[in-house]
Structures are given as C-alpha cells and as structure tokens.
C-alpha cells in the first residue's frame, strides 16, 4: 500500500530522474528507427502504434486523470480528421493549417459537450458523450455538399511541406509520417507530464476521486472538467488530422463511429488508466493484435505450429474469418480486463510481481 516517500518526492520535485533519462534514450532509439529499418510495413506498424498512443494519452487526460468516462471521443477525432480533409479538398489549405483549424473545431465541440454533459454525473455523462458523437456522425452522413456523405473524402495529393522555399519533404515515403507521429507522441506525453506536475493534475485527480470533496476544497468543478476535456479534445483532434493525412481517406464510420470511441477508451483500459505508460502498453497490446489478425499473420502462425492444418475445414474458416475478428477480440479483451484485471495489464503485472516478491520474503 505504502508508496516510497523518497521516490515520490524525487519524482515530484525535479524532472531529471532515471525515468527521464530512460525516456530520452527511448526517444533517441525511436528517432533512429527509419535510418535503420527500411521496410514500409514495419514503419506502418510503428505509425499505427504512435497514432494509438496519441489517442490513448489524449483520452487519458479526461478519462484517466479526471475520471470522466467519455465514450464519445470519436467526435473530436472526427472533427480533426474531417476539418483537415475538407479544408484540403475544398480550399486547398495545407493539412498543418487544417490540423490547427481542426483543433479549434474540436475545442468548440468539446466546450459544447462540456456545458451539456458536465451537469450530469456517471452514466448520464457517458450517454450524453455518445449522443454528441452520434449527432456528428449522422451530420457527416447528411451534409453531403461538404462531407460527401457516406462516400467519404479521398485526399488526391498532399502538398509538399516546405519552409521558406526549401522543400523539407514531399510525403512520398512513410518516413515523414513516422516523424510526425513520433513528434505528436512526444507532444502528448509532455503535455501529460506537465499536467501531472501542476495544480491542474492535482485538481483533475481530486475530481476523479471524489467530486463533492473536490468541490468543497475550492475546486471549480465545471471549470476544471472543461479544461480537461478541452485539452483532451484538442489533442484527440490532432490524432484525427494525422490519421486523415496518413490514410488519405475519411468517412463517417471510420472516424466518427462508436467503434472509434470504444477503441480509444480500450487503449487506456487495457494498459491501465491514469498513467503515462498505460496508453503505451495498451497500444502495444492492441495494435499488433489487430494488425496480426487483419493481415492474417496470426492465422498463418497457427498453421505453422501445426495445431490446425491450413487445408482442414477449421483452417479454412480461420483463414477466411480471423481477418475480420479484430472487433471480436476487442470485445473479449474488454470483458477479460474488466473482470480479471480492473487496473489494466500494467496494474495486473505489478500485482503479480509484488505477490511473487511477497512470496519470497
């Protein structure tokens, strides 16, 4: 139960800790990946990992730290993605400006959601957050002149990114996306760390633990909840914009669907909410899993072990269907995590380790 006071003080008091050094080393290693790895598929996987981490970290601010379970984060993701694409296709505005505009739109949506939903507690907040996301999805379906409706928007080509006439990159490979993704991961982590080490972080957590107690200790609940949501919405919209320019296509179900909202929550729940490492761990579990299923890697791995023969009916069934099973696996994961590891994989692992240590002592 007890947390080592010394360690706690060190973490709170100064930023230069073993953790910081390790993170910087990890960042250096990640930054050098594209110069070592040339396989586009590996880079693609890494980019998906980054995207998932950004989404998870962003949700974590409102869901994990402030305890307000938004199951409507697709609204902000979609706001970023659609704003970027609409500006790019209709007005030829470069996506980096589009992303800024998307942040603005997401902020406005977030404040509307906040003003409606934060009067509500518990299940009502969850329901309202879903309703707002659904309204956006249906609007994107119906506002055909702007959004192209169900057909979605396909980005024909991306303008090269240049500073003062020098072309930095023309986005012909995955490398620039890799660095953008990495940069956004760093941004969200830095924002989260900064929040943790400020009054905001304390107030967010106090609200999560007990709203009435927090209120009576001088915390303006609606102000701080809206701050958390606004911050989270803006970062989530960045993830959406990044997704849009990377994939080059948006349509209502893929960027505004309930699935996206659930997936965002899932990243944190699986890793463990309210920690910096949670979304990273969650992404490391979810992304390889769903990619492995999608690309039939897992099916071929099963065949290779010889448990099931590829030509048998079961093998055929697996080959045909495992690719579509990632949502099923998500469902099973949620159920397993909620029932058996309510603190996430990370919390579960910690418990196992401490049990073992306890056993030895």
């Amino acid at each position: 139960m007890a947390i080592n006071t010394k360690e706690n003080k060190a973490a709170g008091g100064s930023f230069i800790t073993t953790g910081t050094v390790l993170s910087l080393l990890a960042l250096l290693a990640l930054a050098s990946v594209p110069s070592v790895v040339s396989s586009p598929y590996t880079l693609h996987l890494m980019i998906l990992l980054f995207l998932s981490t950004i989404m998870g970290q962003s949700w974590n601010l409102i869901g994990g730290y402030t305890g307000q379970y938004s199951v409507g984060h697709a609204a902000y993701f979609g706001a970023g993605a659609y704003t970027t694409m609409i500006l790019l296709q209709h007005f030829q505005i470069a996506p980096w400006y589009g992303a800024l505009a998307g942040m603005g739109v997401a902020l406005v949506v977030g404040l509307v959601v906040g003003s409606i939903c934060f009067r509500l507690r518990g299940p009502y907040f969850v329901l309202a957050s879903i309703a707002v996301a659904e309204i956006l999805r249906l609007s994107a379906m119906n506002l055909k002149e702007i959004t192209n409706g169900a057909e979605g928007i396909l980005a024909t080509d991306l303008p090269p990114f240049s500073i003062g006439g020098t072309v930095i990159t023309d986005f012909s490979t995955k490398v620039p996306f890799y660095y953008i993704g990495l940069g956004l991961v760093v941004l969200t982590v830095v924002v989260t760390v900064a929040v943790q080490h400020s009054k905001l972080g304390y107030y967010f957590q106090a609200i999560r633990e007990d709203q009435d107690a927090a209120h009576s200790l001088g915390i303006n609940l609606s102000l701080y909840k809206n701050l958390a949501l606004g911050l989270s919405a803006v970062l989530t919209s960045l993830a959406g914009s990044f997704y849009a320019i990377y994939v080059g296509f948006v349509d209502p179900p893929t960027v505004l669907g309930l699935d996206i909202s659930v997936q965002i929550v899932l990243i944190c729940i699986i890793g463990g909410i309210g920690t910096i490492y949670g979304p990273v761990v969650g992404s490391l579990v979810l992304v390889p899993l769903s990619e492995g299923l999608r690309s039939n890697l897992i099916a071929s791995a099963i065949f290779e072990t010889g448990i099931v023969s590829e030509s048998s009916p079961v093998g055929n069934f697996l080959k045909e269907n495992l690719a579509h099973a990632h949502a099923l696996i998500y469902g099973i994961l949620v159920v397993v995590v909620i029932l058996f590891m309510p603190d996430g994989v990370l919390g579960f692992a910690k418990k196992l380790v401490s049990k073992r240590k306890g056993g030895r002592a």
Binding site: L120, Y124, L127, A131, L138, I269, N321, H324, L328, L339
Partner: protein, 288 residues
C-alpha cells in the same frame, strides 16, 4: 393532414416496439443500476433467431415469438449469472465497459457466423397493408403492435399482481431493504436481466419482417433504448412505454417533415435537451 396522421400512426406502431426495448432496459437498470450497453445487440440476436427459425424451419416470425421469449430469457439470465453479477459493485464505468465488450462479442460472433450482409426476412405479408380511414397501415407493423400491447399488458399484470413481480419492484426501489425483507436479490437480478433480454429479443423478432437484419444493427437500438428510458425516467416502466411511443412518433415525424437521414439526429437532440433540462425524465419529479 393526411400526411400528418399517416406519420403519426406509423410512429405509434413502431413506437410500441421501441417501448418493449425501453422497458427491458429500464427493468435491468431499475433492479441492478446497470446500464446495459449490449441491449441492442441482444435485440439483434433475437432478430437472427427469428430469421433462422423462419428460413430453416419455416416458422412464421410472429409465431416464433413464443420460442424467442423463453430462449432470450435464458440467454439473459446466463449473461447475468456469468458476467454482470461479478461487477454489481464495481465502478459504473467498468459496468458500462463490460456490457460494451459483451455487445462487441455478440455482434462480431454473429458477423463471423452470418457475415455482415444484410438479410431480409420476406413473408407473404411483409409489404402488404390495409387502409383505415384513408390511412395506410403496414400489416406486419400492425400485428407487431398488437403483440406488443399484449406483452406490455402481461408485464403490468406480472409486476402488479404476482409475488415475483412485486419482489422485483421492491428490489428496484431499495436493494438493501429488499434483502432485509428476505427477498432473494440475486435471484431477482437474474430474473430482471432475463426479462430485459427477453423483451429486447422479442422486439427484435417483431421488427424482423420490416427491418434489414445485420450484425451491427444493435448499437443504433442501444442508443435509442437509452433515449427512451431517459425520457421516461430511468427505472420507470410506464415512462419507458410512453418514451418508446414518443420516440417512434418523433422519428416518423422527423423523417416526413425534415428528412429520413436526419430523423435520428432529431432523436438525439431531443435526448440532449431532456438531459439538460429534465434529467430525471419527462415523468420524473425534479430533484430538490
């Protein structure tokens, strides 16, 4: 005027089925304080059950309700016993996530078995209708409305007159007090979840002749079920009945007077307005 009464009638007819879905959700919420995010998916399973009974065994969808009701009851009771029971005292968000997870498992399992193609259950009367005072009434919707009314009446009788019904109501009112009075709260929870699932499944059976059947249809209905129960006040059966009919009418009016694409938006906006101005529901007393 004709257009108005026409859309009013079709709204009422579909509203009856919505009421069944809403009542199911509200019973589960009332007894366990759990919001069942898998509710629409349970309904979807009822649809597939009906579809297969029709295509494989040739049983008419309105007749197969008699089979669907007990099967879906058992299915719900099983869900409660195996999964829901374990999170009764957990954080509300974990309860919600668990039911979301169960819903994902249901819809994706059905997708693996039946693919994500849209299925159509065509009966001899699927598109037939009759006229009443110049208003055309869809025959399958009319039949389903009659069955819905019968089931609702039975439910009221069950809750008002039978011991088990009263025990469930007592549990919904105050779980601890009910336990002290010797009511087997665990058993009531299983019955409530069974009942709620059975109602959702029945609703699925009743709409299967008029709706496309596909694995992902559930989430739309889950959301509608929330809207209905919140409108009626969480936990109120009468409220859910009225809420269902109100949503049916709002949707059908929205489809006629705005556009069919925007009809769901009308429903959600209505939902948000109620949450903001009257969170205890249209019938509920406002809190102090």
């Amino acid at each position: 005027m004709l257009v108005f009464s026409q859309s009013l009638i079709s709204g009422l007819l579909i509203g009856g089925v919505y009421a069944l879905i809403g009542i199911g959700l509200t019973i589960i919420f009332g007894v366990m304080r759990i919001i069942n995010f898998a509710h629409g998916d349970i309904m979807m399973i009822g649809m597939y059950l009906t579809y297969n009974l029709f295509t494989l065994a040739g049983i008419d969808p309105f007749v197969s309700v008699a089979i669907t009701i007990p099967i879906m009851f058992l299915f719900g009771a099983l869900l409660q016993k195996v999964f829901i029971n374990r999170v009764l005292n957990a954080l509300p968000q974990n309860q919600i996530l668990l039911t979301i997870g169960l819903g994902l498992i249901m819809s994706n399992t059905m997708m693996l078995i039946f693919t994500s193609d849209y299925q159509i259950l065509t009966t001899s009367y699927s598109s037939s209708s009759f006229r009443l005072f110049h208003i055309s009434i869809s025959q399958p919707l009319a039949i389903s409305f009659v069955i819905t009314a019968g089931i609702t009446a039975l439910l009221y009788w069950f809750f008002m007159k039978t011991d088990t019904g009263q025990a469930i109501r007592a549990t919904a009112q105050d779980r601890d007090a009910a336990q002290l009075m010797g009511i087997n709260v665990k058993r009531m929870s299983i019955i409530a979840f069974g009942l709620g699932s059975s109602l959702a499944g029945t609703a699925g059976a009743l709409i299967s002749p008029t709706y496309y059947i596909f694995p992902q249809i559930g989430s739309t209905f889950t959301l509608k079920a929330f809207v209905i129960t919140v409108l009626g006040g969480m936990g109120s059966i009468l409220g859910a009945t009225l809420g269902g009919i109100l949503i049916g009418v709002a949707e059908s009016m929205g489809a006629v007077y705005i556009s069919s694409g925007w009809k769901d938006v009308v429903v959600f906006v209505l939902f948000l307005l109620v949450l903001v101005f009257k969170p205890s529901g249209l019938l509920g007393k406002s809190r102090a």
